[in-house]
Symmetry: C2
Subunit: 105 residues, 2 copies
């Protein structure tokens, strides 16, 4: 399992977020290509990628001398559920406040 905090932590770095964005527009991609032009070394980027894999946000699949990377949507859905719950709570409060204001005036 992956905890909510682990998922957010994995997304909480500009380079890792960039990797996720690239993956989201590429479906599947070799590590080498994915890790190019991120401003850090290949091995540095590879370590960041591994963090996404550990958080179940990306998954790896070895094909010949390449390793393909793909996005794993389950964790992201889990993260979104949490945030939208918070939003719902907030929305209810705003509605409650609006009611209150209308009663008072």
């Amino acid at each position: 399992m992956t905890t909510e905090a682990e998922i957010y932590k994995a997304l909480g770095d500009p380079i890792r977020l960039e990797i996720v964005k690239r993956l989201s527009s590429k479906r599947s991609c070799a590590i080498g290509e994915l890790c190019q032009d991120l401003g850090i070394s290949r091995q540095g980027a590879r370590k960041q990628l591994q963090i996404l894999v550990n958080a179940n946000i990306a998954s790896l699949n070895s094909v010949g001398r390449e390793t393909k990377v793909a996005l794993d949507i389950k964790s992201l859905q889990q993260a979104q559920r949490f945030i939208s719950q918070l939003e719902k709570v907030w929305e209810n409060r705003l509605l409650a406040l609006k009611d209150f204001v209308e009663v008072v005036r």
Copy 2:
């Protein structure tokens, strides 16, 4: 401004996430109460709270000798938008795959 990565980073710690959960069920709360029973010292928890404040996830308001904490929904909405975009991309892919499978068989 707060970058996406900063928001996720702020949510990416179990104690900070617990603080956010408490805030979401309490509307507004004094620092002291909010930081109780988190398993770390008051000052430790206060530092974690400050990280949420810096990420514009929580806001502070001083009243007498207390400081009230409240949730700030804007950043959370921003975070959610990003995740739901990713989900949308994924959903489209699944649909495309389904079409493909149906054509082939």
